[in-house]
């Protein structure tokens, strides 16, 4: 706008810049310093101690497996939801509302919800008994059943975290012009071809941000694991929490935090690289 008022935008963004500098950038640097220092001197001791811990490799493996299992399923369900709801006229609002309910549910609450289903005398075992598959209560959430526990956590995460992916995908689908689809139909493209060749490339920006957001959140998984399996299933953030709270060792906790940040950042960069968004080709 006018040049003589060029200070106005700076005045407007200044409070938020100051806030983010103080409570985002400074803690970020502090975390790194905490992780790579010992008694005020640079040292790899915390990182070494983290890597020597028995739960270290287990928590890395668990977190990655969970992310790999959960994120693609969430994306697939979200795409199915988006495609389905696009064909609905009346009732669309209500359906979308129901599907977005988990957006307001915390991972702790999601863990507790699935605990009520999967505990020993819960609904899942009752159902299996009713179907004649089980004869007595089976436990799914103990350390003796790591595979079942893994699936339980994955299901709870898929149940809760799909909503955010769906919302971003549907918002992206809403922006795809109808003409593209109609043109493809006229040229004889079937539903599958249309989906793969027209819709998916056009919603790339939505796919990209949904995947980045969801993957970063998946590496942060913690409370749902804690609610379902206690400490039977170590994950990265859970370890950071334990080192800070139980062991009062801020250095090792910070080392975990730095590791989680590096993984999240790497995942973000990979998505930015792999799913290229070409501004020229957007509708």
């Amino acid at each position: 706008m006018t040049n003589n008022r060029s200070w106005i935008p700076y005045l407007l963004i200044l409070p938020s810049v100051a806030f983010l500098a103080l409570l985002f950038l400074v803690p970020l640097l502090q975390t790194m310093w905490l992780a790579f220092s010992d008694n005020g001197l640079p040292s790899p001791a915390n990182a070494q101690r983290m890597m020597a811990d028995i739960n270290f490799s287990r928590s890395i493996r668990n977190t990655f497996l969970l992310t790999l299992a959960v994120v693609p399923v969430q994306l697939a369900i979200a795409l199915v939801m988006g495609t389905m709801v696009a064909k609905v006229g009346r009732g669309r609002e209500t359906i979308l509302w129901v599907w977005t309910i988990p957006l307001g549910i915390s991972d702790l609450a999601a863990g507790l919800v699935w605990l009520s289903i999967l505990q020993n005398s819960g609904y899942f075992n009752s159902l299996l008994l009713g179907l004649g598959i089980l004869e007595r209560q089976a436990s799914w959430l103990s350390y003796q059943t790591p595979v079942a526990l893994f699936f339980a956590i994955a299901v709870a995460e898929i149940w809760r975290g799909t909503a955010i992916v769906m919302v971003i995908i549907v918002a992206g689908l809403n922006q795809v012009p109808r003409e593209f689809k109609e043109a493809a139909e006229i040229f004889g493209a079937g539903p599958w071809t249309r989906f793969w060749r027209i819709t998916l490339p056009l919603i790339r920006p939505a796919l990209q941000s949904a995947l980045i957001l969801r993957t970063v959140l998946a590496f942060e998984v913690f409370a749902v694991v804690y609610a379902l399996g206690g400490r039977n299933f170590p994950v990265l953030v859970g370890e950071a929490y334990n080192w800070q709270n139980q062991n009062q060792n801020y250095g090792v906790a910070a080392a975990y935090a730095v590791l989680i940040m590096i993984i999240s950042l790497a995942a973000t960069l990979i998505y930015l690289k792999v799913i290229k968004v070409d501004p020229e080709r957007l509708p």
Binding site: F19, P27, W99, Q175, A227, A257
Partner: protein
């Protein structure tokens, strides 16, 4: 592909069967979302007997509000509920007060550093922000903010502020610039024009942003648990007492966490997609 050949053979039956398939898929996915919430509500209202009833029918038998009220009367529950409300209130106030002006600047002005600012905001998304609570314990202890609602509200604002700035940018872009300029012509100052013309038009969107900030804070577990000891928020309280509380208390806690946010999501359902369409750009 096979669907296409059938459609050529008998179009009418294909249409109705694909309609049927569509609606059963939708119904299944709705049930997938709703049934677990119904079941945890049964668990919360069924009390101790409900937990050990075996096998369960899934029907609402033997439920009453008493177990839930008993849970509310447990020491610490009500206080942590109020603490959660307080922290969420601070988060809402701060993220709108700091985020909306930034959103307005991004929507209306071209200035040096605009791209760097957007980069800073987007950068926060690549980081697991709650983790930053770890080093903050030390500085918060020094500042007297450790174990206070204000401290929790501050770190939750870090989570909500980038979102608020991006979303309000979109909302202000939706308010026609001409209206504002007309107000200037008629003698309003910029501040007057903003509060008389822009703010009323942007208000519903800003309220929706506020609700999201509330939900972000209400649901956050990690930072709240790390930064509090006595003044726990509801999530932090539930996390710490989890291992020693009986099952029906855990379900009651889960239900208590779910209810407010479900109501809030219902309140802003019209804005959900517009907001996420904007913030994911």
């Amino acid at each position: 592909m096979s669907a296409q050949t059938t459609s050529k053979a008998s179009p009418a039956s294909f249409v109705s069967s694909s309609r049927w398939l569509l609606w059963s898929g939708i119904a299944a996915l709705c049930a997938w979302v709703l049934v677990p919430i119904y079941l945890v509500a049964l668990g919360a209202l069924g009390g101790r007997q409900g937990v050990y009833q075996w096998p369960k029918t899934g029907l609402p038998t033997g439920i009453s509000l008493d177990p839930f009220i008993l849970f509310l009367k447990t020491e610490g529950v009500l206080q942590s509920f109020l603490n959660s409300l307080g922290a969420a209130g601070i988060t809402v106030a701060l993220s709108i007060l700091l985020g909306a002006p930034a959103g307005y600047a991004l929507a209306r002005y071209n200035f040096h550093g605009k791209d760097s600012y957007r980069l800073l905001v987007l950068l926060t998304r690549a980081f697991p922000l709650a983790i930053l609570a770890l080093p903050l314990t030390v500085s918060f202890i020094r500042l007297g903010l450790y174990d206070t609602i204000i401290g929790v509200g501050l770190i939750h604002t870090v989570l909500a502020l980038p979102f608020a700035a991006l979303v309000t940018q979109g909302i202000f872009m939706g308010v026609p610039r001409e209206l504002e300029e007309a107000a200037w012509v008629f003698g309003c100052t910029r501040v007057q024009a903003f509060f008389k013309i822009v703010a009323p038009l942007a208000l519903p969107g800003i309220v929706a942003t506020a609700v999201f900030a509330f939900v972000i804070s209400w649901n956050e577990v990690f930072a709240a648990s790390v930064l509090t000891v006595r003044n726990r928020t509801l999530t932090a309280y539930l996390l710490t007492v989890l291992s020693e509380s009986p099952m029906h208390y855990r379900f009651a806690g889960g239900l208590m966490l779910i209810l407010p946010s479900v109501i809030f999501i219902f309140a802003v359902r019209r804005y959900l997609f517009a907001i996420w369409g904007i913030s994911s750009k």
